[in-house]
């Protein structure tokens, strides 16, 4: 390092101690900046609430108690966080491998379709076999739905942003087709939903008397697995290398094209598991297509991207990030109920939070780099 003391020793000493105490603030910055951004966004939301003629204080109080006040609420928040976490973790894998996966929605649907079909085909298998089977089926469904745009990108040069958006549309219509035809429940009123699926496939509730179910453990395990995959396995080295610099990866003897397919397949598999969890962990225990804009996916395919970026594309940091967004979504429903604002308000607020948080990330990065440079001074001084 090209560092020399142009200052006198006292100055250096001063700077040194100031630097080391500043450096201690570094982890704090990583958390504080996005949290401040959320606070700023909520302030904008408060203005909107005032404009609607409701009390922001009351609204936000309902939001907080509705998402964090008590074991039941926390459990509901965790339930909301699950699909975000699963999709987000998958997004970490894809983005780190340099692939922009906008196809979470479609991959959730594909996972849900395949896992539902599995449960419909072999409903009588014991839980210990059926539950892993439907989860794996979900992963396979989502994985295939990710691998297709992956293959198109790797071997045919089709831009993945484009193809994953198209794959979302295709999946949504395919689901609608199945729920009018092959998978629709018998009944007088034709509702776009399947039969109540086999009880053997219900994700069991976790002890504690809340509605929190096995899906939560699965989401956490997937996050840990993705962390190990990315940072502790040779495959992870390859995927990240390809993401950062495909040229150098090719020169190093790595199969670049295959890596792209694998990354999107893994990413899709995580979303596919989310699809299975959304079906078998739901209170309806069936696959429902509401024909609405987001349907049963709860828009997790999109929100998961935001969550992953919020977590700095780190699978483990995506876990708390999902919680934050889960709390916001869940609290939003409570707020809607408490102060009687339309649900549109929550969607708009969600958008504002996304904009503020993403806008703050660069600031966080800069501040962190600034802290790192302080530490850099320190290390080089120590070496000298």
């Amino acid at each position: 390092m090209t560092v020399r003391g142009v200052k006198n020793d006292a100055e250096v000493e001063l700077e040194h101690s100031a630097a080391s105490s500043l450096a201690r603030l570094r982890p704090f910055v990583g958390l504080a900046v996005p949290l401040l951004a959320v606070a700023a966004a909520l302030a904008v939301g408060a203005i909107m609430l005032l404009a609607l003629g409701t009390s922001p204080i009351e609204g936000y109080r309902a939001m907080i108690t509705g998402s964090l006040g008590g074991a039941d609420k926390l459990a509901d928040t965790a339930i909301k966080a699950m699909p975000l976490m699963l999709v987000g973790v998958g997004i970490c894998i894809a983005f780190r491998a340099g692939v922009i996966n906008i196809g979470g929605e479609g991959q959730i649907i594909a996972g849900a379709i395949l896992s539902t079909s599995t449960a419909l085909l072999v409903p009588d298998l014991p839980s210990a076999i059926l539950i892993p089977m439907v989860l794996i089926a979900g992963a396979i469904g989502g994985g295939i739905w990710g691998a297709i745009p992956g293959g198109l990108k790797a071997y045919l040069g089709v831009n993945e942003i484009l193809s994953t958006i198209m794959m979302n549309i295709i999946a949504a219509h395919f689901l609608s087709f199945l729920l009018q035809d092959l998978l629709i429940a018998e009944g007088d009123v034709k509702i776009q939903q399947t039969e109540r699926l086999s009880e053997n496939a219900d994700l069991p509730l976790l002890p504690g008397g809340t509605r929190l179910h096995l899906g939560f453990i699965i989401a956490l395990l997937v996050a840990v697995a993705a962390y190990i995959l990315l940072f502790r396995s040779t495959l992870g080295v390859r995927l990240r290398a390809v993401g950062h610099n495909p040229h150098a990866s090719r020169y190093a003897g790595m199969p670049v094209q295959r890596s792209i397919v694998e990354a999107l397949a893994f990413s899709g598999a995580c979303a596919g598991i989310a699809g299975a969890v959304l079906v078998f962990g739901s209170q309806s225990h069936r696959l429902i297509g509401e024909g609405g804009a987001a349907g049963f996916t709860q828009s997790a395919g999109f929100n998961g991207i935001v969550t992953a970026l919020f977590g700095g594309l780190h699978p483990l940091a995506t876990v708390p990030a999902s919680f934050l967004f889960g709390a916001m979504l869940n609290g939003g429903i409570a707020m809607q109920r408490a102060v009687q604002v339309p649900s549109a308000m929550i969607i708009a607020l969600n958008g504002v939070v996304v904009i503020f948080v993403v806008g703050s990330l660069r600031l966080r990065e800069r501040l962190q780099r600034w802290f790192d440079d302080r530490v850099g001074i320190e290390t080089s001084k120590e070496r000298a």
């Binding site: 609607l52 484009l162 549309i169 958008g351 993403v358 990330l361």
Partner: protein, 310 residues
């Protein structure tokens, strides 16, 4: 069950295809310019919704369609400035802030509609302006020259945008800034200034695209644009970052939608088959892309913020 291969059915289909293509075209032309300068805006859908609501509300209250377009333009400018602050000043990840804009637009327009309008009250729809002479040509006249002025305007923008990008100094700056912003900077071209302009134009066109939907429908509903903004972005890639390519993509998408629709109307497809048919535009887009190699064309600095000190 009707017969599709009659002249009148084909005329209906093609004319409808052109109408359906118009919002795609406007939005994708704007996004093409934006991306050529290196800025991705995934928020097109949100801005479309805002433009749609603004135009609808203006006609509802003031009864003027020209004024509605001005309002849509103003909304586009405001959203453009906002997006510029987020992406140029704060240097936020462009794709994600776009999703934020989408969510905001989706929620806010619904909120505003419920609060200020309440129930979908019809407004005057855009009237077709048949072009004298040309509109009388059999078949072709009916397909091409009996549309509302915004349709003509959108298609007229294709050569204008092409000229702007490839023949003006501004276009030169845009291309340079989207490809190698550092090089443009060293020659005194303002990277963020250029991007600011393209962002505003892109947002204005997205907002107008939404206005077209609202004024053609003559009404408003929650999520009026129904995902058209996302398709428009896809069409930019489809068109390999060229205005003409965006037009081909928009027309293709519009025609396939119209075709599926026409077949539905004639009873050629019915029941659950119509959900399979609804996939057609998306499937076709992917299939076409497999055959068109559009590797070339993506601006090298797309989504990369510019910062001189880096």
């Amino acid at each position: 069950m009707g017969d599709f291969f009659t002249v009148s059915a084909l005329v209906v289909t093609f004319a409808s295809g052109i109408r359906l293509a118009t919002p795609f075209l406007l939005a994708s032309l704007g996004e093409t310019l934006g991306q050529r300068s290196g800025v991705l805006n995934l928020g097109v859908e949100g801005v479309m919704l805002l433009g749609a609501f603004g135009a609808y509300y203006t006609v509802l209250k003031a009864g003027s369609q020209p004024l509605a377009l001005l309002v849509a333009i103003a909304i586009g400018i405001v959203m453009g400035l906002l997006y510029a602050v987020v992406t140029l000043v704060m240097q936020a990840e462009q794709g994600i802030s776009g999703i934020g804009v989408f969510l905001f637009g989706l929620g806010f327009t619904d909120l505003a509609f419920q609060k200020w309008v309440g129930t979908p009250i019809p407004i005057a729809r855009l009237e077709p302006w048949p072009i004298p002479g040309l509109s009388d040509i059999p078949v072709i006249g009916e397909v091409l020259f009996q549309h509302n002025p915004l349709v003509y305007g959108a298609f007229l923008l294709v050569p204008i945008m092409t000229y702007l990008i490839s023949r003006t100094t501004f276009g030169l700056n845009v291309r340079a800034v989207g490809e190698t912003p550092e090089a443009a900077d060293t020659l005194g071209v303002s990277v963020n200034g250029t991007r600011l302009v393209t962002i505003i134009v892109a947002n204005v066109l997205a907002s107008l695209a939404g206005a077209v939907v609202a004024l053609e429908v003559g009404n408003f509903q929650q999520n009026l644009t129904a995902g058209r903004g996302f398709i428009a972005i896809a069409l930019v890639y489809f068109g390999a970052w060229r205005p003409f390519g965006a037009m081909v993509g928009s027309l293709l998408f519009g025609f396939v939608l119209a075709l599926v629709n026409q077949w539905g109307a004639l009873g050629i497809i019915s029941g659950s088959a119509s959900s399979l048919a609804a996939m057609a535009p998306a499937v076709l887009t992917i299939v076409v892309l497999v055959f068109i190699s559009n590797r070339v064309g993506q601006p090298a600095a797309l989504t990369r913020p510019f910062d001189r000190s880096n």
